[in-house]
């Protein structure tokens, strides 16, 4: 008897702790793996850092001295350890192009990407979930076919091309939205001098400063890229919602609810939705991560000063510390989102707790 009490009581603490520990260990191993890959990539770069630093006509002695100074003469594993230690302390190296610490530059570029992908995810969820539910409640109907086709089109869309078409139609021809960049050129200057930048996210900052004219301008600029990325995330979310809802609607508890005479709307949106929501959380987190990545191409098109453009710009001038720093940050966010979605899943679904 005591034993069963124990399982329900304090005995649950240890498995939960162990599970949490395992999750953290997995996270750490994955992160170290990420660093190992970026380390290897940046070490096999054909550009020799020593030659780049002291020129090609240096004597052997000078080269040896420079190598020692850069600590390139140490064993690989020691170098890797130093690299990991540096990254964990926020040292991503110095950008070759600007000569400034990579971490500072990333901190400046990241909010723009975060703002864009957050808005896109919100749009994707707002449209994608109802569309998926609609398709699932009427399988085989016209609505279902339309949702399926629109979703597949989103899967097949080259995002850079869609961005160009969007600019051509909504900016170039119709003039409904702002063009590339986060603000009109005139406002861009004001942003630096007249607005206190609390978050680096332009919509939030202008609203917090009560500059609604700038807010409107920023909105007209962000709506097109956010809408396009939102479409991509909608494509994914609506497909997944449909399949999860189909799964739930086929269960016996749904039949029971219907037989009891429960209104169909309540059956779908309360009973089935509650259970479909569990896997859906994972999907939404994954699509968020996917958008951070999709931003690379979108930001290039819309001259959006975010992390994606930072990485591609650095690539063009072979600024490897900047490229690797950006890759690490995106990878870390990606890994983090995966972990969060995993934990949320376990929180929401008691069956997933072991």
């Amino acid at each position: 008897m005591e034993q069963t009490d124990d399982i329900g009581g304090s005995g649950r603490f240890w498995p939960a702790l162990r599970e949490f520990g395992e999750a953290v260990a997995t996270l750490l191993v994955t992160f170290i793996g990420l660093l190992a890959v970026t380390f290897i990539i940046s070490r096999v770069v054909p550009i020799d850092p020593v030659t780049a630093l002291i020129g090609e006509r240096a004597t052997a002695q000078q080269i040896a001295a420079a190598r020692a100074e850069l600590r390139l003469d140490e064993p690989m594993i020691v170098q890797f350890g130093r690299y990991v230690w540096g990254v964990l302390h926020g040292d991503f190296g110095t950008s070759i192009k600007t000569g400034r610490p990579v971490i500072e530059e990333i901190a400046r570029f990241f909010p723009a990407t975060l703002e864009l992908s957050t808005l896109a995810t919100i749009l994707g969820v707002l449209v994608g979930v109802p569309a998926g539910v609609l398709a699932a409640t009427k399988p085989g109907s016209i609505a279902d076919q339309v949702v399926r086709l629109v979703g597949l089109m989103g899967y097949s869309m080259p995002v850079f091309w869609l961005g160009l078409i969007g600019l051509l139609v909504f900016y170039g021809t119709l003039g409904w939205v702002g063009g590339p960049g986060r603000l009109d050129a005139g406002y861009d200057m004001m942003m630096d001098f007249e607005v206190t930048q609390y978050t680096g996210m332009i919509l939030l900052d202008t609203a917090l400063n009560g500059r609604w004219d700038m807010f409107a301008n920023a909105l007209s600029h962000i709506i097109l890229p956010a809408g396009l990325l939102g479409y991509l995330s909608m494509a994914y979310i609506s497909r997944m919602t449909r399949s999860f809802m189909m799964n739930e609607l086929g269960q016996e508890y749904i039949t029971t609810a219907r037989v009891k005479g429960m209104p169909e709307r309540r059956v779908v949106w309360v009973h089935a939705m509650k259970n479909a929501l569990v896997p859906l959380i994972t999907v939404i987190a994954l699509s968020y991560a996917f958008l951070l990545e999709g931003a690379v191409l979108t930001e290039t098109i819309f001259s959006w000063p975010g992390l994606g453009r930072y990485i591609t710009d650095a690539l063009m001038v072979a600024d490897m510390p900047a490229v690797m720093g950006g890759t690490i940050v995106v990878g870390a966010v990606y890994i983090g989102l995966n972990l969060v979605s995993d934990l949320l899943y376990k929180l929401a679904d008691p069956r997933a707790r072991t």
Partner: protein, 301 residues
């Protein structure tokens, strides 16, 4: 023709080949009922034909410049998709570009799934530490943002078609390893494997001869579903100038080269982008339909 169909539909096949062809035929009949999948199949077949017969179909040389015919708008006589900034016929370039697209897709699907298959089956068959280490490595690659890793790799290897293929392949094998491992775990302890082992077969023979064939169907479904993604990633790399280099008519590169004239000569980037979209939609429709036919569990019905 009717004779062939009767032979295919024979409920009591007399040979292994007849049974196999019969199954394939029944699968095709099921696929035929899915109109969207048939559209996808048509697009894919047309793509293959286009690339094979590009020299015969293309009215102009895809690379030779003709500066007197710059920026001819679409639907003009002789250039129904217009010409680009060097006076090259866009339709001819799209036709030849389909070869590059197919070439990249073929190279990726000949490498990534094979690597994934080997890693997955080895991990699943041996289990224990082998499994743990291999799957941890797989998870690390799976946790990577694909496009960014491909970008970083191309940055190091240098731009170019082969390097782009390498980067895409290196980032797309992990899902195959996962699928192959899952399939291996289900067949590993079955009687027929035990029988083969008792006959004295070594692990290499068991894995390659008896486990891998069982994993093939699920891997093939994944390949069809992944092809559109490969096309999009390759085009994205091309668009950023990190994939195929000019003057080759790669579609992503063509979109990018038309960016400068987007508002005045919109067709230069729009047309090749449309080609990318149609082709990846075709593969997606086909893959979606194939999954419904070959893998009824995930059809969602």
């Amino acid at each position: 023709m009717t004779g062939v169909i009767t032979w295919l539909r024979d409920p009591n096949p007399t040979s292994r080949a007849q049974a196999r062809f019969g199954q394939t035929y029944m699968g095709f009949l099921r696929l035929r009922r899915n109109h969207l999948a048939m559209i996808g199949l048509t697009i894919s077949v047309v793509l293959v034909l286009m690339s094979i017969f590009a020299p015969a179909l293309a009215p102009y040389d895809p690379i030779a410049q003709n500066l007197s015919e710059r920026f001819i708008p679409p639907l003009s006589p002789g250039h129904w998709l217009g010409t680009d900034d060097f006076g090259r016929d866009i339709w001819s370039r799209i036709l030849y570009g389909s070869r590059i697209t197919l070439y990249i897709v073929l190279l990726v699907i000949l490498t990534a799934p094979v690597a994934g298959l080997i890693i997955g089956t080895v991990a699943g068959y041996f289990g224990g530490w082998t499994d743990r280490v291999l799957m941890r490595i797989t998870d690390i690659f799976l946790a990577f943002p694909k496009l960014i890793l491909a970008l970083a790799l191309v940055a190091v290897l240098g731009p170019g078609m082969v390097n782009a293929v390498l980067a895409i392949a290196l980032t797309s094998w992990p899902p195959y390893a996962r699928v192959a491992r899952a399939e291996t775990l289900t067949v590993r302890s079955s009687d027929y494997i035990a029988a083969v082992r008792l006959q004295g077969a070594g692990p290499v023979r068991i894995i390659f001869g008896h486990i891998m064939p069982m994993c093939l169907p699920s891997v093939i479904i994944r390949v069809t579903l992944d092809m559109a993604g490969v096309i999009l990633t390759a085009a994205g790399l091309g668009f950023l100038g990190l994939g195929v280099q000019p003057p080759l008519p790669e579609w992503g590169l063509m979109v990018s080269s038309g960016r400068k004239f987007l508002f005045e000569q919109w067709w230069v980037s729009t047309m090749p982008g449309l080609a990318i979209f149609i082709v990846s939609l075709g593969f997606n429709l086909l893959g979606d339909g194939l999954r419904d036919v070959l893998d009824p569990r995930s059809s969602g019905k």
